[in-house]
Subunit: 127 residues, 2 copies
Amino acid sequence: MNIGSAAKAAGLPVKTVRYYADIGLVEAPDRTQTGYRRYDEAAVRKLAFVRRARDFGFSIEECRELLSLYEDKSRSSADVRAIAAAHLEEIEEKQRQLAALRDELAHLVTACRGDDRPDCPILDRLG
Amino acid sequence: MNIGSAAKAAGLPVKTVRYYADIGLVEAPDRTQTGYRRYDEAAVRKLAFVRRARDFGFSIEECRELLSLYEDKSRSSADVRAIAAAHLEEIEEKQRQLAALRDELAHLVTACRGDDRPDCPILDRLG
DNA sequence: CCTAATCTTTCCTGTAGCTGGAGAGTCAAG
DNA sequence: CTTGACTCTCCAGCTACAGGAAAGATTAGG
């Protein structure tokens, strides 16, 4: 399997697959005589795993940890849960901040008449 | 006023103030004979304006627009409102995505026993 | 007046996670 | 044999700065 097919199978851009190899996240098993990266089923599974983890907002480093746990058959589910729970905390913190932000901004947008005149509570608040 | 005092007055790191000058967002009025940037009251007000707009999550480019409206006494509040409303939309979209993400992840964390055994719904879902 | 500490300057590098492009080589089909 | 699709490496750029080096400027203390 060349990189193009592997990328398509994993649902990732070719560039990204190459990037993951560069940073040592998911490396292709070997190369052809002419230097083409070959990917096997196992590598494609890892790529897809990473893609889904990234969709969940896990960082590359978190993906690296999850991947090693994914590979390690003697892992404990507690390790995985700890990573996921920490990540969940981050998400919830970001949610709180975003909510506060939204409320204040929404308030300003509502207060602004949005007409031809220069009076604007939004700018007043910022200035 | 040297850059240090201006930065402190505006509540920004010196590095950031210099960066804003580099990208032409808020430039210092002039330089001393020895090359020190001088900041006056007006420049400091602009810096503080940008800081607050950044706190609201406006991008640098949005800040640039807001700043020119802030400076423009013949502006219409509709222009400002349009930028803010667009930004509000972005924030709300991000909120929706984050909420969906959180729910799914929270579900997985709840489903995971988190014990010594390798069975883990989180990895099952990702793999 | 000298010195040490603090401030400021420019320039270069790095961050996260890729994305785009140039230029060159490879492969499969017709 | 040619054409088009694929792949390679390397380099640059994106956001919004932060860190640090080396050198000059300024200020306070003695």
